[in-house]
């Protein structure tokens, strides 16, 4: 029945398109009548069909099956997983598909058991429960409100473990590039090559801030963040503490470092002890400079606020990972008139430090701070290496953007695929 309609439609279209084609008069009249009668109706139907076609070609019926299903070992994993891929059902975008259920069996003739469900729009499914020593057979069932259709049995497939995670090849290459750049500049700085490093205002202020505390005879408060040593920001905070402590050791200023983690307390003690020693003032060091308060974020900040309003430090440093407590501390510090220097790589807390502190090290500057303060050529060399990393990132973004833009303007397949290729280099697996 539908084919009959299609036939009529096609004939009409041909006639409409070729009025000059010589056809027997009778036939022509017949077509004209047909046209006159049916054209508006057909046009309407065509429009409806076109819209409907885009949405639901076979409303109520079972969705059509996926095509080209394949099952193969998941690449670059530790085994125990088989990846299934397919081309989406033509009804997928029309909303007639609820999803794809994957069935598995040890033999081609079954029995098949469901191993999982991929939702609408996804063209792959990883069966993560396979045994590397066995073969498996699969079939994929496309389900929808109108019923379901299944593919033929595919397989056999086996899972294997690999020695190299090929999905991460891009991470390896770019990692090597950036590490190479960092190591290269460290090496060349070691050989005595002079490097320019721009001024970082927040770090220039460190000396003045310590001097001010000494003049006022008030303590210096140093907060190395509220995370543990497994956060790299805490590592940065503690190393910066080392350089700050070295300067403090030269003055007669009291240093207070409340910590919210026991391991940070231990590490900070080691760091300050070493700093005082290298400044030639080991006798001034005491374990009481660093105290553990509590692991609890807000218990910690309650105590730090207490220290602030009671001891009135002249300078507060906040260097490390911070969460909501950042503003509580910074506002209390502000109310007692302390000079405040903050640094964090927590994007969510940066606005508050910027608003309430005198100087703020933004993200990357926190990690650059220890190198900057050390003023040691090798350390500064690594900053140059970081810049190479930024250049790579900027180049890649610019190239990808250019390719996609050209594709929009020129509509050339080549640009699209080149752009996609470049983009895929930076895909996260």
């Amino acid at each position: 029945m539908p084919s009959c309609w299609v036939n009529a439609l096609v004939r009409c279209v041909i006639h409409a398109l070729s009025p000059s084609v010589s056809v027997p008069r009778e036939r022509a009249r017949e077509s004209r009548t047909l046209l006159r009668f049916f054209a508006p109706a057909l046009l309407f139907l065509g429009l409806v069909a076109a819209t409907v076609f885009a949405q639901a070609p076979n409303g109520g019926a079972a969705p059509r099956s996926v095509s080209d299903p394949q099952a193969a070992d998941t690449k670059g994993d530790e085994g125990g997983s088989i990846m299934l891929r397919w081309t989406l059902s033509p009804d997928d975008s029309a909303g007639q598909v609820t999803g794809y259920e994957v069935f598995r069996a040890a033999k081609p003739d079954g029995p098949f058991k469901s191993v999982g469900f991929a939702s609408r729009g996804s063209a792959r499914f990883a069966d993560g429960s396979t045994d590397d020593d066995s073969s498996y057979y699969y079939k994929i069932i496309t389900t929808g409100p109108g019923g379901s259709t299944e593919t033929a049995v595919i397989g056999p497939a086996r899972s294997t473990a690999e020695w190299f995670n090929s999905n991460r090849a891009n991470v390896l290459v770019i990692g090597l590039l950036i590490s190479g750049a960092v190591l290269y500049y460290i090496a060349s700085a070691k050989k005595g090559k002079k490097l320019f490093i721009r001024r970082i205002a927040g770090l220039e202020a460190v000396h003045d801030a310590i001097g001010r505390a000494t003049e006022m005879g008030r303590p210096i408060l140093y907060i190395p963040g509220i995370q543990d040593m497994d956060d790299v920001q805490t590592v940065a905070g503690v190393t910066i503490l080392g350089y700050v402590a070295r300067t403090i050791a030269e003055y007669d200023t009291k240093l207070e470092v409340p910590t919210s983690r026991s391991i940070v307390m231990s590490t900070a003690r080691e760091t300050i002890k070493a700093a005082f020693l290298s400044a030639g003032r080991p006798e001034k060091y005491s374990d009481d400079m660093v105290n553990y308060i509590t692991d609890e974020q807000f218990g910690y900040v309650a105590a730090v606020d207490g220290i602030m309003v009671r001891e009135k430090p002249a300078t507060c440093f906040y260097m490390g990972a911070f969460f909501a407590e950042a503003l509580i501390m910074a506002e209390t510090g502000n109310s007692i008139g302390a000079i405040q220097i903050a640094g964090t790589a927590m994007p969510a807390q940066l606005p508050f430090f910027v608003a309430a502190c005198d100087y703020t090290l933004i993200g990357e500057e926190l990690f650059a701070a220890s190198a900057y303060l050390s003023n040691e050529p090798r350390q500064l060399g690594s900053l140059k290496g970081q810049d190479v990393g930024k250049s790579i990132a900027m180049l890649a973004i610019a190239a990808g953007t250019a390719l996609f833009t050209l594709n929009q303007i020129l509509r050339a397949e080549w640009f699209a695929s080149a752009g996609q290729w470049l983009k895929n280099l930076f895909i996260v697996n």
Partner: protein
């Protein structure tokens, strides 16, 4: 301070102290002298004590603060003990030992790999010993090495690559033959923002000339980000206060219906 003023101050302190106790008892009388009533009153009392810090530091805040430090330090220790120490250390090295607490994991096979953290933990504690405190540094070295190694990969993969990947967008977007102005402007801003933001972070080049202009735009973009982040957050902070006021008005005073 003469003896008399001291005495007078002591009396005032005593009266204040009694007033607080009385207020507490009265408030409990309102809620009924039950365990529940006591807990709600205590919660309200502590809430008000912390809020009083907004006016100025005082003994109520100081008491609440000190209580908080003690209670919370112990809380995290207990959680560490029951959710890490028992199941993940003792339960791994010698599963039968945890049978009285967690029978479900007492029958799993022992995994002697977990002796590594046990040894490192003891090394860390060694600094309490009179001799050989330096051994603690081995544990610290292990911790910092782990942090460096794990974060190197983690930030590389998700943050660096992921963000570069999603920054590749066409600057001009043409939809059905005509320019999609909104998306085009958005993508231009996005590209320029990321690009100039990165310029701002350059350390080894002076921010002058074209580079200086880029870095200036970079700062502006960062300021937009900070302004947006700040403005967006205000809502969350107010919500928290609403939560506390609801507790005071509803759970404690029963004013809301």
């Amino acid at each position: 301070m003469t003896e008399q003023t001291v005495e007078r101050r002591a009396i005032w302190y005593l009266l204040g102290f009694l007033a607080v106790v009385l207020a507490f008892v009265l408030s409990m009388a309102l809620k009924g002298f039950t365990q529940q009533g006591f807990y709600v009153t205590l919660g309200a009392f502590l809430t008000l004590s912390i809020l009083s810090f907004l006016y100025k530091d005082n003994i109520f805040y100081k008491m609440a603060e000190h209580l908080f430090v003690g209670v919370s330090a112990a809380y995290w220790m207990v959680m560490g003990f029951w959710s890490v120490m028992v199941p993940n250390l003792i339960g791994k090295i010698h599963p039968p030992a945890v049978k009285p607490f967690m029978p479900a994991i007492a029958s799993q096979p022992a995994s002697y790999w977990y002796l590594i953290p046990a040894v490192l933990g003891i090394m860390l504690l060694w600094r309490l010993m009179p001799k050989g405190a330096w051994i603690a540094r081995w544990a610290l070295a292990f911790i910092v090495g782990t942090t460096a190694g794990l974060n190197f990969i983690r930030y590389m993969a998700s943050d660096l690559l992921g963000q570069i990947n999603s920054s590749m967008v066409p600057l001009v977007v043409i939809q059905n033959g005509s320019l999609d102005i909104m998306t085009t402007i958005s993508n231009l801003v996005l590209f320029l923002g990321v690009f100039c933001g990165l310029i701002y972070f350059f350390f080894s080049k002076e921010h002058k000339g074209v580079f200086g202009v880029g870095s200036k735009i970079g700062i502006w973009i960062l300021m937009v980000t900070f302004g947006a982040g700040f403005g967006y957050t205000v809502m969350a902070r107010i919500s928290l206060l609403v939560g506390r006021f609801r507790f005071l008005f509803d759970d404690w005073l029963g004013l809301l219906k």
